[in-house]
């Protein structure tokens, strides 16, 4: 028993901690970055009081939330009210299990990694829905309904976009998908799969209920939507889950469409050797940061969508676009077009 603990369980627990702790820190500083970025976009300074340039602000926020009282609304469904934040944070963390940070640097190298991520992220909606229902509040309930409809709709477009990636890469394993993009940045999938790339990222924004798709919160319409009744740590957990999901979606976009840990200078004569010392993790984090910045930029720029506009965009624009592009990708794959579809023609040959 102890042997098994030392050999199997302990290393995995350590690895999990190695992912979760930095993730939590990233979430904390993502909120700081958000306030700063939006502040500068709106010609303000943003938080600058706590610590140097306000750098300790997230710590102060976390402490404040920790010490606040969690209030249970009257006539709420107490059990579900408490389960909801757990259901929100659980999938947001579990999805990281299959994320490759560098070649071989992955907690669980499973074959159906992409499917796993889709399945786990699709569950994050339960946190929102249950929170909205259990709160026994009209606003929270409206938020839950909006979120349920929105997430289910955009999951389809997102799934189709990912199908394009897996056709191109010939694998569901995230590591293999990255390796299939080797050979310079013009091999990355954002070029041949450009429409899918756009659809994926926008659907990702919608899946995480972020602006301009934040109708589930909609603070100007339904106060704060599904988490209007939550306070203190319970609220903080929703917050954590949302930001962890944002980072996940951004890192997935980097992995699936931007070559993951691969250096952008691969295949360029001088620069390739010049930058060869940089670890893959840095490139991955850099690419992720670009997408995270896009998230913040969207929030500062776009007004919120109306509910029916969201539905129209999802069903009538994204799904047809992805379907058409899937046909194109499949055709390209069969006929070995460009530098993208040549290496991985294994599955189409059918004789493997």
């Amino acid at each position: 028993m102890i042997d098994m603990f030392l050999q199997d369980i302990l290393p995995n627990v350590l690895k999990i901690l190695l992912i979760v702790v930095p993730l939590m820190l990233s979430v904390a500083y993502l909120t700081y970055a958000e306030r700063k970025v939006i502040g500068y976009i709106q010609v303000r300074i943003g938080p600058n009081r706590v610590g140097l340039w306000g750098l300790l602000q997230p710590i102060a926020d976390a402490l404040k939330l920790l010490l606040k009282e969690v209030i249970f609304p009257a006539k709420s469904n107490l059990y579900l009210f408490l389960v909801a934040p757990v259901l929100a944070i659980g999938p947001a963390l579990a999805a990281w299990a299959v994320m490759p940070f560098d070649d071989g640097m992955v907690l669980a190298n499973i074959d159906a990694g992409l499917l796993y991520i889709l399945a786990i992220t699709s569950m994050s909606v339960y946190g929102v829905v249950i929170a909205g229902w259990a709160s026994n509040s009209r606003y929270a309930f409206l938020g839950a309904l909006r979120s349920a409809a929105q997430v289910v709709s955009y999951e389809i477009a997102m799934g189709f976009a990912l199908v394009g990636v897996l056709i191109a890469a010939g694998s569901l394993n995230l590591g293999e998908i990255v390796l299939a993009q080797q050979g310079g940045f013009w091999h990355w999938y954002f070029i041949p799969l450009f429409p899918l790339f756009i659809v994926y990222f926008i659907s990702g924004v919608a899946e995480t209920n972020r602006a301009p798709f934040d109708i589930a919160e909609g603070e100007s319409e339904i106060v704060a939507g599904f988490h209007v009744e939550y306070s203190g740590m319970a609220f903080a957990i929703f917050f954590l889950a949302e930001y962890a999901d944002m980072i996940l979606i951004s890192m997935l976009a980097a992995t699936l469409f931007m070559g993951g840990w691969l250096s952008p200078f691969d295949g360029i004569p001088v620069l390739e050797s010049f930058f060869s010392w940089v670890p893959g993790l840095v490139w991955l984090l850099g690419k992720t940061a670009i997408f995270l910045f896009l998230y913040l930029w969207f929030r500062a720029t776009f007004p919120r969508y109306r509910y029916d506009q969201i539905m129209r965009l999802g069903w009538k624009v994204f799904i047809p676009v992805t379907l058409v592009w899937l046909v194109i990708v499949s055709t390209a794959q069969v006929f070995d077009i460009g530098p993208w579809f040549t290496e991985s023609a294994v599955i189409t040959a059918g004789g493997g």
Binding site: I110, D111, A119, S122, W133, L145, A148, A149, V152
Partner: protein, 199 residues
Amino acid sequence: MESVIFYIFAAILLFAATMVITVRNPVRAALFLVLAFFTSAGIWLMLEAEFLAISLVLVYVGAVLVLFLFVVMMLDIDLAPLKEGFTRYLPLGIIVAALIVVEMIAVLNAPQFDISAAQATDGSNTKMLGRLLYTVYVYPFEIASVILTVAIVAAITLTLREHHRKLQDPAKQVMVKSADRLRMVDLRSKKQDGEGSES
């Protein structure tokens, strides 16, 4: 170790499935159904059927039951009529259920189900499944897709009511005259005896 995990999953699954049909609140029933699906996905994972397990979670937990919840949450079901007749039909129900249980125990005890033959193959069964679906089972697979298409057509046929749609016609709005909206009625105040009727 594995059998311990299996029994834990199986116990949760049975508990959740029982709760689905006994719990009073439909929303909680739906949530227990989610739990049941999730644990059965776990059991499938233990059988190395990872594709099936993941698609179960993806399709049922991630999409079907969300929509289910969506509908159930909006319903305001009065549970009293549903309970009516429960005790009246209970004896008959118990007898039938007991008969079925006895029958199934008698029948399914026979050692004919060769479960070992159903072990998963080595390697990625996602790839194997995909290859089978698009070659040997391509015909049933296509029929299944037709069924889904028909389901959409049927659902739209039964729910879309074109003539009840509220549409604004700007041209009509511009052309509207005051007489269309306002009707002038001559309401002569009754003369009360002596007193004015202003107040």
